[in-house]
């Protein structure tokens, strides 16, 4: 399968990259690892005139900045999964990175790239050249094949990293017009399948920041798939649990579910239910049942809504139990 023709720009610094994005705003795409954009270009879904390849940019090691962990957006997912600082302070993020794709994809794909991935749908992510098919909304057409009489797009954000960062309360650092802005991760997602991330063509995501958690804290990531590997999630979940000094009473819970909407969803009702409670396996069971009732997973890639709810019941219960078992006092 061949790529279409394009011009490749290879800046050596963030400043140079930002300049190029501003200069060529109209028909430009950014490429980090290439594992998201190149398949779409091969399928004929995208044909930018310019591709700004970021592989020559320096990648900074994880660093602590006033108690906040700053991670370069160009870290490969392998490096995120294996980094000891991340494993120690944000295990849910290391686990999420380890769950992505395959060994090869983790060696190529980046932290920032995974966050900025395009939303997906089985009707969209395929080649469209072999038969005459009216384009769907995501291909700038006026219909949907997933919901035949639908008026909107139902493509899903399949990212494993995004829910982990939601639960960590992370932020992203974006360069635009020479300025560096930090935005909480939940505000960078639009929930619009056609334009899932609130970044203009001129902006460049450069870092992800994760605040330190004080006190006793445990986290876990779980991803439900059919094959167990080399798969996008049917549904995934990221849990960060904080408990009081007694090691038993929940002081704060952050639970985010992904791969069932155009952005991760926080389980706010379940979080409120858990706060102040003495944690136990029974409580996690209840939390799982509550989670399945709280949200409406959008069916996708052959998974029905009821199936996804059943999956959610078990992965929520198990991720909570695992996060709790990891709290340092045990």
């Amino acid at each position: 399968m061949r790529l279409p023709k394009f011009q490749l720009l290879q800046p050596k610094s963030v400043e140079e990259a930002a300049d190029l994005l501003t200069k060529h705003e109209k028909s430009t795409r950014i490429m980090a690892g290439g594992t998201d954009i190149l398949p779409r270009m091969k399928y004929g879904l995208e044909s930018p005139e310019f591709v700004v390849g970021l592989s020559n940019l320096p990648v900074r090691k994880p660093r602590d900045s006033d108690g906040t962990l700053v991670l370069d957006a160009l870290m490969t997912l392998s490096d995120v999964a294996q980094n000891e600082i991340i494993q120690k302070n944000a295990l849910v993020l290391a686990e999420a990175a380890h769950a992505v794709g395959s060994y090869q994809i983790r060696n190529m794909g980046t932290l920032g790239g995974n966050l900025c991935q395009e939303t997906r749908c089985s009707y969209y992510n395929q080649s469209h050249g072999y038969q005459f098919v009216e384009p769907c909304f995501k291909r700038n057409g006026d219909q949907c094949y997933f919901i035949p009489k639908g008026k909107k797009c139902w493509a899903i954000l399949m990212s494993d990293i995004a829910p982990a960062l939601f639960s960590l309360g992370a932020s992203v650092e974006v360069v635009s017009n020479g300025r560096l802005d930090r935005t909480p991760i939940d505000r960078i997602y639009t929930k619009d399948p056609l334009h899932p991330i609130d970044l203009s063509k001129r902006q460049l995501l450069v870092a992800i920041t994760v605040p330190r958690k004080s006190g006793l804290c445990g986290s876990a990531f779980a991803k439900f798939t059919v094959r167990g590997g080399l798969e996008f999630a049917a549904i995934n979940i990221a849990v960060v649990l904080q408990v009081k000094e007694d090691g038993l009473t929940c002081s704060n819970a952050r639970i985010s579910v992904g791969a069932i909407a155009a952005a991760p969803i926080r389980l706010e009702k379940v979080e409120s239910m858990l706060a102040g409670q003495k944690l136990s396996r029974d409580l996690f069971n209840d939390a799982g049942l509550m989670a399945a009732d709280e949200i409406t997973p959008i069916p996708h890639h052959g998974f029905s809504m009821s199936y996804l709810k059943v999956c959610l019941r078990s992965i929520a219960r198990d991720a909570l139990a695992l996060a709790y078992s990891r709290i340092a006092c045990h």
Binding site: P4, G34, T35, L38, P39, Q104, M108, L230
Partner: protein, 161 residues
């Protein structure tokens, strides 16, 4: 627009004429006849195009040749030294882990990289490392046996003495 680039493949430097759209897979197979690296899906879902770049398994179908300057690329052709197979290759032969052979170059490279990074992998480690390499023939059992055997040999998976 065509440009000239130097690529280091199996410790040999090749001067190649490429376009931005040229993938590393195209250069290997079409320009240099390193046909051990295979194209199956072309979109990152099968692993047949796996090569090692700086020792790390990556997908040549999704790698632009233009981004490979100053990197060391190893293809399956680069594993054999003086006609001697590596422990991983020997194990694949002995355990019957090869049927049609299409997935094999990529499997061998990925397994080699795994054992260099983790000489004592658990079952889970092996499966996780090989999850991106699909095989339609063997059902994976013999491949797993071969990798376990190669791990037991204790030698560096890449080299024979």
């Amino acid at each position: 627009m065509k440009t000239i680039i130097e690529l280091n493949i199996n410790d040999e430097v090749f001067e190649m004429v490429i376009e931005p759209r040229t993938t590393l897979l195209e250069v290997l197979r079409e320009h240099l006849a390193f046909t051990g690296t295979k194209e199956a899906c072309g979109t990152g879902e099968c692993g047949a195009c796996t090569v090692l770049i700086e020792g790390k398994p990556k997908l040549a179908c999704l790698t632009l040749a233009a981004e490979c300057a100053n990197t060391r690329i190893t293809t399956i052709e680069g594993l054999v030294h003086d006609g001697q197979l590596t422990p991983v290759q020997q194990a694949f032969l002995e355990k019957g882990a090869v049927q049609c052979g299409f997935c094999t170059p990529a499997m061998v490279l990925t397994a080699t990289a795994l054992l260099e990074e983790n000489p004592n992998p658990t079952e889970y480690d092996i499966k996780k490392a090989l999850e991106g390499n699909l095989c339609r023939c063997t059902g994976y059992n013999k491949i797993m046996e071969a990798i376990r055997e190669a791990a037991k040999s204790g030698e560096s998976a890449r080299n024979r003495k």
